[in-house]
């Protein structure tokens, strides 16, 4: 589904990703772990096509197509979803209006007819309940005045509504208490259907107790330095990231 | 608590002494003959005399501006003397040894020793006393670098083509009432020329002193920075304590050609008048700079003196990618009135401007920020950021903000923010609880409030500015 080969990318003058490789097949959940500054968030931004994140070399194929050649919204319509670590607030644009636009843009991308207001409302309400947000959140401005946890849940609600093929979760666990973490994880797990794939970016192992990955990769200094199964996350849990430095020195 | 603040604000004006110097002074009054005489005194070329007369004729048709948030009695322009110079300067002393020792002592008392060996290393000074330049230091050293730094009266003789080429190009002679008056009667001031690609090896500085009674000071400064050159220029001003108001109407023109950079800093400490508003300088000044491609002009001002200030150092950002900056601290006390700010005129693409203004009002003073940010139709991708903060000390003063924003380019971004605050009892209490006396506390809070501007000053001046603020808040820090 996603094939990243020797990806180098920079922000302004600084190269952040330095030859990243990754292969993701349908239905797989890949966890990307690593210390602060390893390039974890950059990966999500580069894949989604954010301005200012420049690919220097390497290739990314998404379902056989050149992802890097596509506009931000084209990538989204092709089925790539990014759940933000810090979702932006957009006062004045209601959550409902925003998500309806978005859902229908996706449907159009898949050649489906747009949902009517009533159909959409039904789905939105269900999604809202699933992530345990009060219904009036649909009427409020996008992320406006939401707490950190509410913003994360709002992202997962969009994940549920938009039904992407590949979802990248950028530190969706940061700043959450255990209850909120479970809500987020439950939302994500409900979308695991054997076809949909996930990249779960996280600093801590904690989230992986709830969203069990098939593969774990350790990202350090812009490269995957180690890959393995779920046991690798446990290893990080007990020994931290300090060993990375020793490795570098050696 | 507020009583303690009041005490902390009691003023002392250290520069208020009079020097006993015999001067040659024109009788008060202004007409074409006075201008011709003045021009003749300075042995000026004919075009200069004619230029002055044209300015005078324009001035006669103009009206004194009334839009500023200041209030002062009508000025009688016929009661002012338009020329005054120490007699000893008549023979143009060749070196410092020939300069009247009383003059040198005056500057020494003001903390500006003119003997090069005693000076702050790295600062060249042009000392202007009433209507004439007394001495310009470090000239040889500057000449080695190709930098011209001399009185403008001298430049008119030595470099007439340069002066003629640039004089009045940034501030035209009929620009505004006070600029027109200055153009007609300006007496001296500094001329700076930095050749292409030269980084001026030292800070340049002019020190203005009004001494004589009933005179006005009308100096004119012209700085030309050729392509890729760089200069930092400082100006300071003081005047004796007198009961009458005196007029200071200066014009400063800056020309920054492609890739050049001019940093212009002012510490203005003209006599502000007494507690009841008696006496003091009317400081009506026009300062403007023109930026060509990639050029940068940065104005920094610390305004603590003058009874009335009317001053808007501005930048015309004509060249693409040019940058304008304005950093200002204006402190008013007693019955001082200040109406000051800047104009940033964005004409070129991707031009950038930053305005940081800190106004501190105390006593019964009024302090206004007035600014204009204009994004012209061609100001593609231009940006401005403005921050205006006012600090009120006591409930008898006023703090005002009048920002004009005009934009006609959809890609230009303008951001303006203004806030007001006071020195709160809580802040004072905290400082005192930590062992500071209230005067020190006020001074510290005010200094903190101004930090963003002070750090823009050249080092030599930052110290002076800090001190000046302390003296201005006298009693607070001895």
């Amino acid at each position: 589904m996603l094939s990243i080969k020797k990806l180098h990318a920079r922000v302004e003058e600084t190269t952040i990703l330095k030859g990243l490789d990754m292969e993701i097949k349908p239905g797989e959940v890949h966890a990307v772990m690593g210390p602060n500054g390893a390039g974890k968030s950059t990966l999500g931004y580069v894949l989604s096509g954010r301005d200012g994140y420049e690919v220097e070399s390497g290739t990314v194929e998404f379902e056989g197509k050149d992802l890097l050649d596509m506009e931000v919204e084209e990538r989204a319509q092709a089925g790539l979803f990014l759940a933000f670590q810090y979702p932006v607030e957009i006062p004045g644009v209601s959550n409902m209006e925003f998500m309806k636009e978005s859902v229908n843009a996706m449907r159009e991308g898949r050649g489906e007819t747009p949902l009517s207001s009533a159909e959409f409302l039904k789905k939105a309400k269900a999604a809202c309940k699933q992530v345990e947000l009060p219904l009036d959140f649909l009427k409020r401005g996008v992320n406006e005045g939401f707490s950190g946890g509410e913003k994360k849940r709002n992202e997962i609600m969009q994940l549920i509504l938009l039904e992407p093929k590949l979802a990248i979760l950028d530190e969706s666990d940061s700043g959450l208490d255990v209850d909120a973490l479970q809500v987020v994880a439950k939302g994500v797990n409900s979308q695991r259907d054997g076809k949909r794939s996930f990249i779960v970016v996280t600093h801590y192992q904690r989230l992986l107790d709830y969203i069990e990955p098939d593969y774990v990769h350790i990202l350090s200094n812009g490269k995957i330095v180690k890959s393995g199964g779920p046991e690798l996350a446990k290893e990080v849990e007990s020994s931290g990231y300090a060993w990375l430095k020793e490795g570098e020195n050696a | 608590m507020s009583e303690q603040i009041d005490q902390a604000l009691e003023r002392k004006y250290d520069a208020g002494f009079v020097s006993e110097i015999e001067s040659e002074t024109f009788a008060p009054g202004l007409n074409e003959d006075v201008i011709r005489r003045l021009s003749a005194m300075k042995d000026e070329p004919e075009w200069m005399t004619e230029w002055r007369l044209q300015a005078y004729r324009k001035w006669l048709k103009m009206e004194e501006p009334e839009w500023a948030h200041v209030d002062y009695p009508k000025i009688d322009y016929q009661s002012i003397s338009y020329y005054s110079a120490p007699k000893s300067m008549k023979d143009k002393p060749k070196s410092l040894d020939e300069v009247d020792p009383e003059l040198l002592r005056t500057y020494e008392k003001l903390g500006i020793p003119l003997h090069e060996q005693e000076m702050l290393a790295g600062v060249a000074v042009d000392a202007v006393f009433d209507s004439v330049s007394v001495v310009t230091t470090f000239r040889e050293k500057l000449e080695e670098a190709g930098v011209i730094f001399c009185p403008i009266s001298e430049a008119l003789h030595k470099y007439p083509d340069l002066v003629k080429k640039y004089l009045g190009t940034v501030v035209p002679k009929g620009d505004n009432y006070f600029a027109a008056l200055n153009s007609a009667v300006f007496t001296d001031g500094s001329f700076v020329y930095i050749p292409k690609g030269v980084r001026c090896p030292m800070e340049l500085s002019t020190y203005f002193r009004i001494n004589e009674q009933n005179t006005g000071q009308f100096e004119r400064t012209l700085i030309v920075a050729e392509e890729g050159s760089h200069v930092s220029y400082l100006e300071g001003c003081t005047a004796p304590q007198r009961d009458e108001n005196q007029l200071h109407a200066a014009v400063v023109e800056l020309v920054a050609l492609d890739d050049a950079e001019i940093k212009y800093s002012t510490v203005q400490n003209w006599y502000p008048g007494d507690e009841n508003g008696k006496g003091g300088i009317y400081n009506f000044v026009t300062k403007r700079g023109l930026c060509e491609k990639n050029a940068k002009i940065s104005w920094t001002q610390v305004e603590t003196g003058s009874a009335v200030t009317w001053k808007y150092p501005s930048c015309i950002l004509k060249g693409d990618n040019s940058v304008g900056e304005f950093y200002s601290v204006a402190l008013t006390r007693g019955k001082q009135q200040a109406d000051t700010g800047t104009k940033m005129i964005h004409l070129g693409k991707n031009t950038k401007s930053t305005i940081i203004s800190k106004g501190i009002s105390a006593g019964r003073s009024n302090n206004a920020y007035r600014g204009l940010v204009r994004m012209g139709p061609g100001a593609e991708g231009a940006r401005n950021f403005t921050e205006c903060d006012s600090l009120l000390i006591g409930d008898q003063c006023g703090a005002h903000t009048f920002p004009y924003i005009e934009s006609s380019n959809p890609t230009a971004i303008v951001e303006h923010e203004a806030t007001t605050s006071k020195v709160s009892d809580d802040q004072l209490f905290l400082c005192r609880q930590r062992g500071l006396d209230p005067e020190k506390a006020v001074s510290m809070i005010v200094n903190g409030f101004c930090k963003e501007v002070f750090r823009e000053l050249p080092m030599e001046f930052a110290v002076e500015a800090g001190k000046l603020l302390e003296i201005s808040l006298e009693g607070s820090v001895g």
Binding site: A105 | H400, P410, A418
Partner: protein, 415 residues
């Protein structure tokens, strides 16, 4: 001097009614006035040359329907070219509400006429001397009126008209008033309103200045707030050939609260000028003002927002925020937020921006698959929509929303 103004002064001499003594003072002052030019600060960015030689008819027999607002259920007072076309006697008024025509002598009008509106405004003076028709609304002490009262002014082709609204809210009273103005054709319509809001009274107010095309609309809404009173006002304006509005809010009592939102959406050649002045004359007052404008095509907007804190108005909280978006190369904005502060223990701030879209928000929408053009529309319109959401009257907001959205979409097409 303008021919039009000379004509106004001539006509004023012939006005003879129970308000004549008040009008005489206004006329005397009007005669002293200079015709505003570029050097007149209040008219710096708005030229009056289109008014200077105006010569329109002053009597009209036109009839017109008031625009219908679904679900508003308001008591409507309809004026066509300044002439009252509603039969007041036939209205079914809630308890505590009195409505009278300005033509009949009454005490409430006597106490209000020209007492709240600042004296200096040229067109206010013109309205003082010429506005013979209008409405006087008195809300009795403690009356809580839930049904909105709407004053509709329709300006028709070729007519000059002048209208005055006077409103008193008694102590502890509550009311909702909508000033609704429309007109597309060549006309001059001055509409001034004065509001006296009693102790602890609460006014919800709207001014819709929806004039377009060749209409010239000049007017003002002027409020005096007494102790503990509350004002929530929203102004929505188009530009028309020339629209100039002055809003003054005076905190004459302590602990008053004023919220003032305004929205302007301008295209194609429209000129809109809003001057607001907040006078904090007493301590402990609060004002929140938000102005948002989108300017398209070759339209021009002028915003002047002044906050004046008087010497003894300690503990005032006052904030003003003005944000503008230019959509096109021909569009222009001139904005001036002003602070004039004479008390130290206050919290005042203002901000003004002229800006493009927030890039981060745009990116967020794009990652959700929304195409760029649509995302721009959502974000740009969201900018004014935010203030629409804040309108307490949902029916009015719901009615305005599609109208403004359509206008905005046309503006985006003309980019």
């Amino acid at each position: 001097m303008s021919q039009w103004l000379a004509h106004v002064i001539d006509r004023a001499a012939n006005v003879d009614d129970w308000l004549s003594p008040v009008r005489a003072n206004a006329l005397a002052e009007l005669k002293q006035k200079d015709w505003p030019g570029r050097r007149t600060e209040a008219w710096r960015y708005t030229s009056l040359h289109k008014v200077a030689d105006l010569n329109l008819a002053t009597n009209s027999q036109q009839t017109a329907e008031a625009p219908l607002v679904d679900g508003l259920n308001s008591i409507d007072l309809v004026f066509v070219d300044g002439r009252l076309t509603t039969d007041i006697a036939a209205l079914n008024l809630p308890a505590g509400v009195s409505v009278q025509s300005l033509e009949t002598k009454n005490e409430a009008a006597d106490k209000l006429f020209g007492k709240i509106k600042p004296e200096h405004h040229l067109f206010g003076l013109v309205n003082d001397v010429l506005a013979q028709q209008g409405v006087v609304i008195d809300i009795a002490d403690a009356a809580e009126v839930d049904q909105p009262i709407r004053i509709v002014n329709v300006a028709t082709d070729g007519i000059e008209s002048h209208h005055r609204t006077l409103v008193r809210l008694g102590n502890n009273a509550k009311a909702k008033i909508i000033e609704h103005g429309v007109g597309n054709d060549h006309s001059l319509n001055t509409v001034f309103a004065e509001y006296d809001i009693g102790d602890n009274a609460k006014l919800e107010h709207y001014r819709l200045a929806l004039h377009e095309g060749n209409a010239i609309h000049v007017g003002g809404s002027h409020f005096r707030l007494h102790n503990q009173s509350r004002l929530n006002s929203t102004l929505v304006g188009y530009g028309s050939q020339l629209t100039r509005l002055d809003v003054d809010i005076e905190h004459a009592g302590e602990h008053a609260f004023a919220k003032f939102n305004n929205i302007y959406l301008l295209a194609p050649n429209e000129h809109f000028d809003l001057h607001s002045t907040i006078e904090h004359a007493q301590p402990n007052g609060t004002t929140e003002e938000n102005a948002r404008g989108i300017i398209g095509d070759k339209a021009k907007a002028v915003f002047n927002g002044r906050i004046h804190i008087h010497r003894h108005a300690q503990k005032t909280l006052a904030e003003l925020n003005n944000r503008n978006l230019l959509l096109t190369r021909g569009a222009q904005i001139n904005t001036k937020p002003e602070l004039e502060i004479y008390a130290d223990d206050v919290q005042c701030a203002h901000g003004a921006t002229v800006a493009e879209i927030d890039e981060e928000a745009l990116y967020y929408l794009l990652t959700r698959g929304i195409d760029r053009q649509q995302a721009l529309i959502m974000l740009n319109f969201g900018f004014v929509q935010e203030l629409l959401f804040q309108m307490p009257n949902r029916a009015l907001a719901d009615w305005l929303h599609p109208i403004l959205k359509q206008r905005f979409e046309r503006m985006m097409e003309q980019r």
